[in-house]
Assembly symmetry: D3
């Protein structure tokens, strides 16, 4: 069994049932989500081992979060129990032209206050094949950024493949550093980067000058600057409405531009975590299918399926993804 290790915050997700507005809700559905953990959870369903590294307070809510990781089959033995609170997000699920809205309440979480000294990455990463992190993590606090850097350095040293989801929300990054100061060094230890052209330009200070083929141009410049990076991937979402999205992905692997067709998701159940589902599928493709185009296709099929599942994690198995990947989108009843 291949093994992935992921690192990042896990938030309590409190969502309104039945498309209710937050104002109407008299109860919230409660689960947990976290972009990196979601990737690992996907891979567990695909037959991988996964361990997630994070921090929770040592109280009833922290124990609940740990139990959720175990439920997903994600190894919780490297979770540090310290700090005061689990970060929270409230989700109001939209429909048609009404957008879903998230209210974050994550400041001062246990993860934000982690002490990078508490992680023995050599031990944590022992036996792992893959390490994955996301740009939200170093945005949260200096400690998280430091721990992330320690992790990628160690992974590199141990010969573990590193994938980086270079995504940043400008409204995080409140501890005095900019993405431009932090992300490039982290990226320099990466094998695979998920980033849009815009992200590449803004974060790495690169400027695309061509008129056509901008994404490829950006990827080339990035790979030149950071020779460890072997592949750059990006997903593309067409938002017809909150209930109807289309999803595709592409990759520059240093040699050619690979692109998938669009998956058409006409009746969305839950859109949160679909990007993570893509990455889970993509990593499966890299490790098991060992083919770049198939990796993208497996990823987009997985992402499409995630739109039909409540919660942050993709709970489908390989045969379900393969069916969609092979073009069977009929949803025919299986008995």
């Amino acid at each position: 069994m291949p093994k992935i290790v992921t690192f990042g915050e896990v938030l309590l997700r409190l969502s309104t049932p039945n498309f209710q507005k937050i104002e109407q809700a008299t109860s919230f559905n409660a689960t947990f989500g976290g972009t990196e953990m979601n990737v690992g959870a996907s891979l567990v369903k695909f037959g991988f081992e996964a361990a997630h590294v994070t921090a929770f307070p040592n109280n009833l809510m922290g124990q609940k979060a740990k139990a959720f990781l175990r439920f997903l089959g994600v190894d919780d033995s490297h979770v540090v129990l310290e700090g005061d609170r689990v970060g929270v997000f409230f989700l109001e699920t939209g429909a048609v032209m009404r957008a879903s809205q998230i209210v974050y309440d994550r400041a001062d979480s246990a993860f934000a206050n982690i002490n990078p000294e508490h992680f023995d990455w050599e031990k944590i990463l022992e036996g792992a094949d893959w390490f994955h992190w996301c740009g939200i993590t170093p945005a949260i606090s200096e400690g998280a950024a430091k721990a992330c850097l320690d992790a990628v350095k160690t992974a590199k040293k141990l010969g573990i493949t590193v994938s980086s989801d270079i995504y940043y929300r400008s409204n995080l990054w409140k501890y005095g550093k900019t993405p431009q100061e932090i992300l490039p060094e982290l990226a320099s230890y990466s094998d695979i980067i998920l980033a849009s052209r815009k992200n590449i330009e803004e974060i790495f200070g690169l400027q695309v000058t061509v008129e056509k083929g901008k994404f490829v141009e950006a990827c080339k410049m990035l790979m030149e600057a950071y020779p460890t990076v072997k592949k750059v991937i990006d997903s593309d979402r067409i938002q017809v409405s909150a209930s109807h999205n289309q999803y595709a992905a592409k990759m520059w692997n240093g040699e050619e531009l690979l692109e998938t067709g669009y998956q058409d998701i006409t009746h969305i159940v839950d859109r949160i975590g679909t990007g993570d589902a893509f990455l889970g599928g993509f990593i499966y493709g890299q490790v098991i299918l060992k083919d770049d185009l198939k990796s993208l296709q497996f990823g987009t099929a997985a992402a499409a399926l995630k739109h039909t599942i409540e919660g942050d994690q993709n709970l489908v198995t390989v045969p379900e993804v393969e069916a969609v990947m092979s073009g069977d989108k009929s949803g025919r009843l299986r008995r």
Copy 2:
């Protein structure tokens, strides 16, 4: 803050969950609805003050109804506590080609038995900018019709804008009067009337004779007969199915025919109250945007959004409507 006063019945709404047939339901979702109150509730979310005038019995159900008004931010201080029961409607929510069905159980409600003497309209309307009523109200009972007439007369006297939703259900009107006997006088105190050409012809005894431009012709005749009426508006719903509607609106403002495009609502959550949501948006447009076309556009965007919200009331805010009005129907997740 502009202020609107509305007058009309509020019913207990008991709807089946998850598209259940009434026969299947072992519980009902319970909320309240009333066409005029819904208009006021919309406007509260848009920053208006709103007061609703109605009657409830002074029992646990009446108190519940009052608390619901307050929850919506609607002033309940002019609610009369007398009478025996809150009217009820049972809602079986349909899907695709299966129609939603409503079973009304509203006879002899507290509102139907109101005594028009109990309303001091001068005091109630003090400080108001707008008064709104609907043709259902005078259909319910002689007392309700009388109170409604008192209200519009007083509003007119105080210089308050009066909007009238001239909509009537032929199966109401059981107290011995016809719509033709009652509605024209009420309409004569109106500034703005919501009515279809068919309604205009049937209620006011006017007969359109042109082949083209029938709506405009009807409006002109109406305005000639009732010179206080300055604008006639009408909405247009294309019912693709119970799950998919399209919604547009038009206005004759005495000078030109204004028409919006169609909002396409492809995955309806709850269709009840969408006409009221249109009116709420329209009134916002009249008072705040002060532009007739924008009023219609704001109204149709608001109506479209209401289709995605459970319950009778539109709970969206101005920025949500503005996004849709400006053409952004992507429902893109807001963080």
Copy 3:
């Protein structure tokens, strides 16, 4: 009131709420389903009398199943109370390209172990106009097959119309007999058969040789071999996705091929039991409308409506079906 008698297993249906994966569910919605009983239940809503013949254990679960039959208006007085368990199926409801999945747990149910001696078919069928069975029943056990044969023979003797849903799942049939050994004799007592061309070929050992008009050719061969069979019907489902199906039907009545247009079901609520709903509608058409094409049209309209209702049974009434059959698919709110 016309009367139908049906015979077959009734299973406890445990489905996940809100499109949950089985792994996520902390509760299951509980109802009962059974293909033949579903047909009878449809017809009760259309004004028929219906009795269902089956077996349940004499325990709390068997009593619950009986009460459910009564709730549907299906006569439970011929239910045998013996055996150990009610068969179960777990339903994970899919969406878009994610298929619904059923986990059957029906082995050794009370029905599978029925003793054919326990049914006095002369008495059971007294006063009935129609008898219906399905190919799943004789697949379950030798006893069930024997009882089914007794039933159709008696029905034939009493001049009762027999309809047979010749549908078989190859993964049943575990008691030592093949469909080919059992189904033809059963079919030989049928007036109307529901079967695809493929089923006809596989079960009856007939081989269509024409290039075009294969279904008609198969029907002709079948009718030649089994002269009691007067009509062969088949439904046709286009599976756009798990959320969107299209449904049509056709019939060879010995003289002409009749075909309906497609019903387009764009937002599926529950797809289980839709074929049974078709049959219920079709039988209504045969008995009441006495017109083959209208029977198919009434059946497909009924089947379409069933897709919008949770549970195995179609709970719509004749006016609801007639509206759809007449082309009104607007789902316009009925007050």
Copy 4:
């Protein structure tokens, strides 16, 4: 199987979940209740046949009520479908010292407006062993009182045992008659009367003058005045709190005063319908056990068990009652 026929109104029961106050509830649990129907439903669980005679409107709510009767195993074939509405009661479930509260909304129900001409009692009562009615029925309307009188007269003529629950709520009786004008004649056709001494005095104009043995004295006077009456029974509830009641019963059978001990119900789930459960158990005792004291004991054991079941009806079986009756109140888990 012995057969009971009951006559009376059936109301939609809308209760708040989890001890919520009505003001808090965002949903109501929905079931149906009616004192006479509850008696019949109890007896179905004890192996009787039962038919209930009432009226429902011919709409979705009336159909729902009929289906509920069938679910209970109560024959609904004598239900008249006419009138406008199903009566409703809202139930706020109390606890400890907080009383449960009921808001009735039953005026002008289908039952209140029944036409006594619509009931062919000779046919309805054919084959019945027992007829039961309650004092609420003749309180509702002149028509209901008339139909009730027709029923008891016919029952008497046919030699059917008649039991009468002489219970009246003074706040009903709004149609111009007093209980004193109506109930005595109805009682005169009864074999068994359930009434307190106070009821006997108030309704029949009898006045107990002894200091001790008042109940017996009242019974004697009643039986002298109405010689058809053979037994008078009464229940006795000690209300420790809304969560804790004690329940006993007594009978004067013309010869001796029989009294049961108190059943102690320490954790009440639902107190509504417990008196009806007593009567169901009592009638079982009269018909099957044929012993007056055992009838009272079976009745009180049944009533005690009903306090532990949600809804208006007692759903326990004979063995469950017998266990309690025999003194086993341990509630020991049955596997």
Copy 5:
């Protein structure tokens, strides 16, 4: 109508349904609670006007909290919309010997960061008869303490009665001040203080030396030190178990020690907010009944009733309290 103004934090309350442990819960019931606001909400049900002063972030959660205040009938017009988050507490409801547990997550809430300059107390308190605060408020932050001091000074100046719930949790008070530095000055503006002897000793540095009558002695010393204080009250809870409490109260009013008997709450539904319910009832007694003993009795009856209601607020009315106060604890069904 008398009017009360309250000041303090309002927290989102997320509780597990059906006695679940937090680890088990897949949803949380969502409501709001705050000790001072709860007092005001009680009084609204008793016919008072109430306004609550607090701060919420101007986001969907803050708007939800405001709507909840309005639902309760509490004036939300003095709520300041600023800051980042609504404080949260998670409630795991215990039973029998298993304690309920609360996980607080309230650091850095909008209320904790309030700016005392933002409150114009002269205006807020205009027309008020009573002002109430609790010792938690000044424990939260310097700003909250300052605002609280401004409030009581202004109230004193305006002749408004001030009640102070001198209760402190030692694990709050993290901003550098001790209760001993802050609470005495606040108390000095109070008319009525709720405090135990232990609190009086610890907070005010007073030391009781008598063996008997310690509470009275402590009260006397307190009143001597703070002559504005006219009455000191304390409640007394006997915790038989998490499901069974007994509740009493006492007062030293400068002249005599008044004590109530114990209310026995044998089947607790929700124990949170019962102390606030006592205070609400007590204040009602002071203002309306104008009798000290009756105030305590009304308060304990109200507190007892609150134990039977889910959520933080007492939703009972005066007649319900009066019944319990007069000794009727039967919980007899009210129709």
Copy 6:
């Protein structure tokens, strides 16, 4: 961390919500239970490692069961995925004198059909400190009995403490063996046996002849016959009602009879699994507290707490048990 290994069947538990009768339920709460697994789950909460050995079918239901084990923190890596079904039990939760009822549907489960060859006990038990099994396991099938014997033999060989819950249900044991043929050999490898005197007599063919001290006498005879057995324990439940139990335990440890007082559980939430909770607590006492009386006391406190928790497993932690054990049964709110 000490480590326990347990072996036995895990059943899907489908229970009715809110004390509903099975007949009423329209949904079931779904969780899993199994007596041995429950013991391990308790110990996880007390800080142990636990692994459970069982068999599930390799389908969605088997995967769900595995995920539930992980959620509990129980190692699922020795679960064999083979066989056809997960056994089921339906639970109707009683109250007061109404007994809870269980309908088992466990025949032919994956566990019943396990192949003892599939377990490598040397490997499974590596590093374990304790092995626990229950008498239900060898009752299910010959394979289960064989695997159980292999397990205890290996445990004995490896010096692992073996505890045996010698409890048998006579209505299991359908595969041709009697408890008397199987259980004694299994018991002979045990260190600790949980059994009543009656069980000892019936299973081991021992006959107590003394009048007093029967339990001790039985234990002495058992230990003489099976010298490996060092301690015999038994629990004692007084069933006041389904809502109120009392629970105590005793032990003969070869030297003295130790007995605890009774825990009084006055408001039971869920009684299932409380015996397993006792054993979990007892084993904690043996391993950690290393004191026989304290083991019994910790066990009974744990069992008492389990009665307040929904589901089969005890989810309390050591401090919660210690509080009850030390006599604090107040259930005082913890903040």
